[in-house]
């Protein structure tokens, strides 16, 4: 009976410690936080509602203006800096607040 050949070990991938320990990108914590759960869009860091119609909700989220497009849009909850929007979302547009409009 032939002796079994030892199975060659697969080289283990080592985690890149330098990348893990590196600081997050600049303005990481100032980016808008959006979370889509079912038909609800949860936001954190919403400073103001700039516009609200059933077709469009425009939110001021620090350096970024977030505009939600869709149909039958509504705000389910708004307290402090947390806003929950609901409806049929079609498009989300992110735009820097300091960006000069094209038109």
């Amino acid at each position: 009976m032939k002796p079994k050949k030892p199975r060659p070990r697969k080289p283990r991938e080592r985690p890149d410690l330098r990348r893990l320990a590196a600081p997050p990108p600049a303005d990481f914590y100032r980016l808008p936080e959006l979370e889509l759960r079912g038909g609800n869009l949860l936001t954190d860091g919403c400073r103001r509602v700039l516009d609200f119609t059933p077709q469009r909700i425009c939110l001021d989220m620090g350096d970024t203006l977030v505009t939600l497009y869709g149909a039958d849009l509504r705000i389910e909850s708004f307290a402090g800096k947390r806003l929950i929007a609901a409806g049929r979302f079609a498009r989300i547009e992110l735009r820097s607040k300091w960006e000069v409009p094209q038109e």
């Binding site: 103001r48 509602v49 700039l50 516009d51 609200f52 119609t53 059933p54 509504r74 705000i75 389910e76 909850s77 708004f78 307290a79 402090g80 800096k81 806003l83």
Partner: protein
């Protein structure tokens, strides 16, 4: 009249006016939680809690918006009816909460914990002197003052802590531990304070000048504070320690058969004070007496339930100067006791081995002459 339970309500309102979304921003920034916000042709509709109604009205008034309450949902049909027909239920609940809040600051019971029962009356008196007993509204400054007083005045406790939680004042303490620091003996010798025969020489410093079995006379040097070395130089060292000797000493004391003393008359008066929250009632005795007083603090309890009240009973046992007629035996015993007291005053560590008593009666007095043979430390500084 329809009761308005605004705090328990849920309101649906509509806001109209210029730029109504700014109203939403202001309300959210003010801490109001807006729910189910819907767009309308000329404004928005939203749902809020009834407690936020006043704030919303103020925001609308300040910003020039028009606020209209379109629907209101109360705490429920049954609850509303119950509160309307039985207002005592709500009043009782409010009263209960108020009482819990107010009476929680009163001392309902004092827990002495593992403190020795013999020390508890003294601790109780110390607290009473600071104005703390059952029924007192205990404030933090009062508690801190009492703790400072307890630490300052009490020599029995090494550490005292007063903790007040939930109407119970718990006292934690540890007994004090004393550690005496012995001073170095002065540079002087030890001399015999009585004639005797040396039984033991326990000199801790200095140089012994006597040996066991030696007979010494009063005033004789027992331990020297200085000795010469081989070269003739003086080596000084203060003498300290004990020299035990067997001593024979004679004491005489006399006790008259009649003596003037302060005697109890058997009469007593009781002054009782009932301490209730924010007031107290005192029952003064009809004829106040002078003499020895004894103070007892009794917490008021209803079965096993402690109440925020306490009873302070001060009993005064009357004492008046009186002439006491002793019997011959009693006078002789007192004279013998005086002899022994004189011996122990001179030699506190004396162990009596034998005594010879002679009692004689002389013109209304009993005289005791006792010869003691005892062992004691006779080493004393000059």
């Amino acid at each position: 009249m329809r009761l308005q339970f605004w705090a328990a309500d849920t309101l649906r309102f509509s806001v109209t006016g210029p730029q109504p979304h700014r109203f939403l921003n202001r309300a959210a920034a003010a801490g109001v939680r807006l729910r189910r916000v819907r767009w309308q042709r000329d404004g928005y509709a939203a749902t809020v809690s009834g407690a936020d109604r006043r704030r919303l009205e103020k925001i609308a008034r300040d910003g020039g918006w028009t606020l209209a309450v379109t629907a209101r949902r109360g705490p429920g049909k049954h609850t509303e009816r119950l509160l309307q027909s039985r207002p005592g239920l709500a009043a009782g609940a409010v009263l209960f909460l108020l009482l819990v809040r107010t009476l929680g600051g009163l001392v309902w019971c004092i827990d002495f914990g593992a403190m020795d029962p013999g020390l508890q009356p003294a601790m109780r008196q110390l607290l009473a002197d600071c104005g703390i007993h059952e029924g007192v509204l205990l404030t933090k400054p009062l508690l801190q003052t009492a703790q400072a007083q307890a630490l300052r005045r009490s020599e029995v406790f090494g550490w005292v802590s007063l903790n007040f939680t939930g109407g119970c004042l718990a006292i934690e303490s540890t007994p004090s531990q004393t550690q005496t620091v012995r001073e170095p003996p002065p540079r002087q010798g030890l001399y015999a304070s009585a004639d005797g025969e040396i039984l033991a020489v326990e000199i801790e410093s200095g140089f012994a000048a006597v040996t066991v079995g030696q007979t010494v006379a009063r005033g004789q040097l027992l331990a020297a504070a200085e000795r010469l070395d081989r070269k003739g130089n003086a080596v000084p060292q203060g003498a300290g320690g004990r020299v035990i000797a067997r001593v024979q000493k004679h004491y005489t004391a006399s006790q008259s058969l009649t003596a003037e003393t302060s005697a109890y008359t058997g009469r007593s008066s009781v002054q009782t004070t009932l301490y209730l929250p924010w007031r107290s009632y005192t029952d003064e005795p009809e004829d106040p007496l002078t003499g020895i007083t004894q103070t007892d603090w009794l917490p008021v309890q209803l079965g096993r339930l402690a109440l925020p009240a306490s009873l302070c009973r001060v009993t005064t046992w009357e004492q008046l100067p009186d002439t006491v007629q002793y019997s011959e035996a009693a006078a002789a015993a007192l004279a013998l006791r005086a002899c022994r007291a004189a011996l122990l005053a001179q030699f506190p560590d004396a162990v009596i081995e034998a005594e010879q008593r002679e009692i004689s009666a002389q013109e209304g007095a009993e005289t005791a002459a006792v010869t003691y043979i005892f062992t004691a430390n006779i080493a004393a500084p000059p």
